[in-house]
């Protein structure tokens, strides 16, 4: 038995596997396949203040080991979300991370206020990095000062008892610089990575395959980019927890993120192909940790950053034996 308990700032979770924003709606559909309370938490699809239609179709293109989406943050608006979705999650015992998105700082602040004190909310994930917006200038997480402005405002407006995480984009030159700006603005941790901006052209129609022209690339194709981002941000800010995501399909994939410095992981695109993926990854991760002799998840967080002498010194004898077998 491995102790899978993990901490994301002030929030303690019974295990480190969560859903990913935009890949689990608000949990209800996946609740047909497994108990939503069995996961570390459900991360809900980014919600905005007003109802939002999203972009025209086609909204999806499959790519090698991945997919592009251009949903455009379709959602019911915060009122309907609180009344229907959050209530359902609370009723079913799920811990809930609410992802919030906005067109400007005031909208993020409004969302943080509306969710203030709601016992169903365990954490806020601030989506400052959705690629499916009209202008790259609105991707806050591409800009140091815009990121800091939003995070600082949300942190001040949000319930102080719950952690505020910034969702970061890999589409920047120096992700650690964005992370440092968020840290200075009071963020409690990072969710990373959001999708990469991508594009597919349909060679039959000779036009962009997506209605939104560009879309966000997700799936195993982006996993090495995600692991690299987690590694860099953990190295820069080892005291801040990371919720890692990007193409995780198996427990072994999840372990890479943990070793790179993530304290928990989100399962996103894998859910589309395998609705049971989050619980399967959780079981596989526990086994992977056990095989390597880790008594607890927290011992493995950032383990890959240790030098080889430190890794050898910390490694239990039984793990060495099983590693040789592998």
């Amino acid at each position: 038995m491995v102790d899978l308990t993990t901490r994301l700032g002030s929030l303690t979770l019974p295990n480190p596997v969560l859903t990913a924003s935009g890949c689990a709606a608000a949990g209800r559909e996946l609740g047909q396949f497994f108990d939503v309370a069995a996961l570390g938490a459900i991360v809900t699809k980014s919600i905005m203040v007003e109802p939002r239609s999203g972009r025209p179709t086609p909204r999806m293109a499959e790519t090698p080991s991945g997919m592009l989406n251009s949903i455009g943050l379709q959602g019911p608006g915060i009122d309907a979300f609180i009344e229907h979705d959050l209530a359902w999650l609370a009723e079913h015992g799920a811990r809930t991370v609410v992802s919030i998105a906005g067109g400007h700082t005031d909208e993020f602040v409004e969302l943080a206020r509306r969710l203030y004190g709601n016992p169903a909310v365990s954490m806020l994930e601030v989506n400052i990095s959705c690629p499916n917006v009209e202008s790259r200038g609105q991707v806050f997480a591409c800009d140091v000062s815009a990121s800091a402005r939003v995070i600082s405002a949300v942190r001040r407006a949000a319930d102080p008892r719950i952690p505020v995480f910034a969702k970061l984009t890999p589409d920047v030159t120096d992700i650690a610089a964005i992370a440092r700006a968020c840290a200075d603005a009071g963020v409690n941790g990072f969710s990373m990575i959001n999708t990469l901006l991508g594009m597919v052209i349909d060679t039959d129609t000779m036009a962009p395959a997506l209605g939104g022209i560009t879309g966000g690339l997700s799936g195993p194709a982006i996993r090495p980019v995600a692991v690299r981002c987690v590694w860099q941000v953990h190295r820069a800010l080892p005291h801040l927890p990371i919720l890692g995501m990007g193409g995780i399909q198996t427990g072994s994939d999840a372990l890479q993120f943990i070793l790179a410095g993530a304290s928990a992981v989100s399962i996103g695109t894998a859910v589309f192909g395998d609705p049971g993926a989050p619980l399967r990854v959780l079981a596989e991760l526990e086994q992977e940790l056990g095989e390597r002799g880790f008594a607890s998840l927290s011992d493995a967080v950032g383990f890959a950053h240790l030098d080889r002498f430190a890794r050898a010194a910390r490694r239990p004898a039984e793990a060495t034996a099983s590693a040789v077998r592998r």
């Binding site: 086609p58 989406n69 067109g103 695109t269 589309f272 192909g273």
Partner: protein, 299 residues
């Protein structure tokens, strides 16, 4: 409306999807299509006409992450044999090409039954069923259910060419009264299914039309039904990433009970819609009056 514009919500909730690793029991070539029979008792047990399955493609190490969705052609409940589901595949990409190469005895990862079934009339009513291409597949079990419930049924099937027709023989065995059209006249009457639809409605004094096929056909069927002041329940064939309602890719602009239009998910709110609720002309666009369209401006 004749009691077929709504389905019983309680039924839909009982009808929970499951994921099964099912052995392929039979593979048959039918014209240009491949018909699969797969052992999947959990899906077969509750499946109803109009629902679909989502099948993983490419094997466990596949680089194709997304499932392919197929309307259920049949489901034998676990009482008979092992409990199997049937669906029909048209190869038109790497995923479906992989699928049609799979042999008897191999296993497929299937999720189902998914989506809302065709709503059944409370009392028997004459019904015309219209299938385009392999869109005929879900109409066969529907025809059986309607006939078993005492409804009079007529079926029209059509396709571009004779090779792309599906289910003519089984339709004749099931329904008796079958009309066939092809665009090129290679089988049946040269023309479109909608050329024959008004006469079929008039002949039966039909109270409802059911259809499945390409979007242009569904739109045209809906128009004919509207002219006859009867509802058309149509099953769309939208491309889906997840099939279970979480990804939001398969949306269509649909008018709700409140008269307002929204992007709704074909997979869980459909695939069956009342044809006159779907804003066919606006598919692929973002109409200004859609709920939440104003929020898309400037962001």
């Amino acid at each position: 409306m004749s009691g077929v514009d709504r389905i019983d919500v309680t039924d839909a909730e009982v009808n929970r999807p499951v994921q099964e690793l099912g052995e392929i029991f039979a593979v048959q070539q039918v014209g240009e299509y491949t018909q699969f029979t797969v052992v999947a008792p959990g899906i077969a047990e509750t499946a109803r006409p109009g629902q679909f399955v989502a099948v993983a493609v490419g094997g466990p190490k596949s680089s194709m992450l997304l499932r392919r969705s197929f309307a259920l052609y049949g489901a034998t409940s676990p009482g008979e044999f092992a409990g199997t589901v049937q669906f029909v595949v048209a190869a038109h990409g790497p995923g479906t090409e992989w699928l049609i190469r799979q042999q008897v005895g191999e296993r497929l990862d299937i999720v189902g039954p998914l989506g809302r079934p065709f709503p059944m009339p409370k009392d028997p009513v004459p019904a015309v069923l219209v299938g385009g291409g392999y869109g005929t597949a879900p109409l066969i079990p529907l025809a059986r259910a309607l006939i078993d419930a005492g409804s009079e049924v007529e079926i029209i099937i059509g396709a571009a060419t004779a090779g792309r027709l599906f289910g003519e023989l089984v339709a004749r065995r099931t329904v008796g009264s079958v009309s066939v059209t092809t665009d090129d006249g290679s089988a049946g009457v040269a023309g479109l299914v909608t050329d024959l639809l008004p006469a079929a409605i008039a002949k039966l004094d039909a109270q409802v039309v059911y259809a499945c096929g390409p979007m242009a056909m569904l739109r045209a069927v809906g128009e004919v039904a509207r002219q006859h002041a009867i509802p058309a329940q149509v099953a769309v064939e939208e491309s889906m990433a997840c099939g279970i309602g979480v990804c939001m890719t398969c949306v269509l602009p649909v008018r709700g009970d409140d008269g307002r239009s929204r992007f709704v998910r074909s997979c869980v709110d459909g695939p069956v819609f009342l044809a006159d609720r779907v804003r066919w002309a606006d598919v692929g666009t973002l109409p200004d009056d859609l709920v939440g369209a104003d929020a898309m401006k400037g962001h």
